[in-house]
C-alpha cells in the first residue's frame, strides 16, 4: 500500500518519526514525513501537494489551509500543546520566576535574547506576546536576536552566543548545554497548540488511522518524552 504522507512542522521532527515508527510496528503501514516550515507546507498543500496529513505548528496556517478548502472537513483537531520557556546557556543556571517583576535586562547583562522571528515564526510570535503581556518587551526588544527557526534560536544559546533564549519546552529538553530558567505563565500568551488534519486529497483509510494514532496513548508516551503536553 502507498505510504501515508505527512507534512509536518519542523519542530515535530524526531518525536513524530518515533510515533510513525510505533504505528508501523503496530499496523505495518509506512509513513513518509516531509518536514519544513508550516508556511511552506501550507502553501504546498494549497498548491496540490500529495499530502495525506498536515500537522502545523501554527493555528493561522491551518486556518489558511482550511479556508481554501484543502482540508477534509471535520478531521481537524488540536493535537499537541507545549509551553514556552526561558533558557540560559550552561547546564546549571539558577531558576527564576517569570512574571512582570522579572529583571530580564539584568539577566541579559548586555547579552542577546535569542528567539525565533517575532513576527513570523510561531515560537517567536508567542514569545513576543508573552513578553509584551508581562510588560518586559520594550526593555529587551533591542537585544532580541531572531532566527528563522526555533532550532537555530536554541543553538545560539547552546553555543553561548546569546545569553538567554525563549523556545518551546519541547525543544529545550533535548539540549543539555542549556538550562531552563522558567516557564512562561500560560496566560501570558495564546495557547501553543499544534493542530493536525487530513487533507482533502487524503483518500486512504490508513491516513485516517494514522491521524487517530497520533492522539493515542501509545503516541503520547513518545510525545510526553519529547516535552509536549496534552491539551487541557
Amino acid at each position: 500500500a502507498d505510504p501515508v504522507v505527512v507534512f509536518a512542522a519542523a519542530a515535530l521532527s524526531g518525536a513524530l518519526d518515533r510515533v510513525a515508527e510505533a504505528w508501523r510496528a503496530e499496523t505495518g503501514h509506512r509513513v513518509v514525513t516531509s518536514y519544513a516550515g508550516s508556511s511552506a507546507l501550507a502553501r504546498q498543500i494549497r498548491a496540490g501537494a500529495p499530502a495525506d496529513v498536515f500537522v502545523s505548528a501554527s493555528v493561522e496556517w491551518m486556518d489558511a489551509v482550511a479556508a481554501s478548502g484543502d482540508l477534509r472537513a471535520g478531521t481537524r483537531r488540536d493535537l499537541l500543546a507545549t509551553d514556552l520557556v526561558l533558557i540560559a546557556h550552561g547546564a546549571d543556571a539558577a531558576p527564576v520566576t517569570i512574571d512582570a517583576d522579572l529583571d530580564l535586562p539584568g539577566l541579559l547583562a548586555g547579552g542577546r535574547l535569542s528567539m525565533s522571528l517575532v513576527d513570523a515564526v510561531p515560537s517567536g510570535i508567542y514569545g513576543r506576546q508573552a513578553l509584551q503581556s508581562l510588560g518586559l518587551w520594550d526593555a529587551v526588544a533591542p537585544s532580541v536576536a531572531q532566527s528563522d527557526n526555533v532550532r537555530t534560536a536554541l543553538a545560539f544559546v547552546a553555543r553561548g552566543e546569546a545569553r538567554l533564549g525563549i523556545v518551546y519546552a519541547s525543544d529545550a529538553v533535548a539540549e543539555d548545554r542549556v538550562s531552563v530558567l522558567g516557564t512562561f505563565p500560560a496566560g501570558s500568551h495564546a495557547p501553543i497548540v499544534f493542530p493536525a488534519a487530513l487533507t482533502a486529497e487524503a483518500g486512504s483509510p490508513a491516513a485516517e488511522d494514522f491521524l487517530a494514532f497520533l492522539g493515542s496513548d501509545a503516541a503520547w508516551e513518545i510525545w510526553a518524552q519529547a516535552g509536549f503536553r496534552r491539551l487541557p
Binding site: 521532527s13 524526531g14 518536514y35 519544513a36 502553501r43 504546498q44 498548491a47 496540490g48 532550532r151
Partner: protein, 234 residues
Amino acid sequence: MIGADWLGPAEWEAVRLSLRVAFWATLASLPLGVLTAYALARWAFPGKTLLNGLVHLPLILPPVVTGYLLLIALGRRGPVGQVLEAWFGIVLAFRWTGAAVAAAVMAFPLMVRVIRLAIEAVDPKLEAAAATLGASRAWVFATITLPLIAPGIVAGAILAFAKAIGEFGATITFVSNIPGQTQTVPSAIHAALQVPGGEDAAARLVIVAIVIAVGALALSELVARRVARRVAGA
C-alpha cells in the same frame, strides 16, 4: 572502515536523489544556458536588459521566493503546471523532476554568467576566418566558438552542478521534503538539524555532500585541463 550502514537507507536515498537531480539539472539546462549566454554576449535585441535581469533573478531573490514562484507557476494548480500536465503529461510538483527544475533555475545565473564570459573572450577574428572559409553562422558556432568556449562550458557546468548539489531553499519550497521522492541531501541535512541531537546525522550528510562535490570538482579540473590544452593549441 566506514560501511554502507554508516548512512541509513533514507540518507542513501537522498544521496542518490541529489546526484540524479544535480546531473539532470546541469545537463538539461546546459543548451539553454549556452544559448542564453550567446544571446547576451553577441546579440543586440530589445529586452536584452530584461532577459539579463530575469536570468539573474534566482540569484538575487531569497531561494524561498524563487521556490514559491515556481510553486505558483509550475505547481499542479499553476497555469504552466496545468498546461504541462494536460498537454504533455509532465508533472513537476513534488517529484524529483521538480527538484531538478528548481536546482536548474537556481544554478542558471551562474552557468550563464560563466559561459557568457567565455564567449566574450573568443577572438572574433577566428570566427571571421571561419566565415571566409564558407562556414555559416551556425557552423562557425559549432566548429569554432563552441570548442573554444569548452573550458567555460565545463566551468559553468561544474558550478551549476555544485550549486545543484547544494540547493535547498527553492527545492524545499517547491517540491517539499518527501524522503525518497524530493528529499535531497541538503533537505535531509536541514531536516536532521531540526531534530534535537541531529547534528551527527547532519555532519555525516555534510561529509557526503563534500565528497560528491570535491569528486565532481576534481573530475572537472581534469576535463578542463585537457580541454584547455586543446584550445590553447599547443
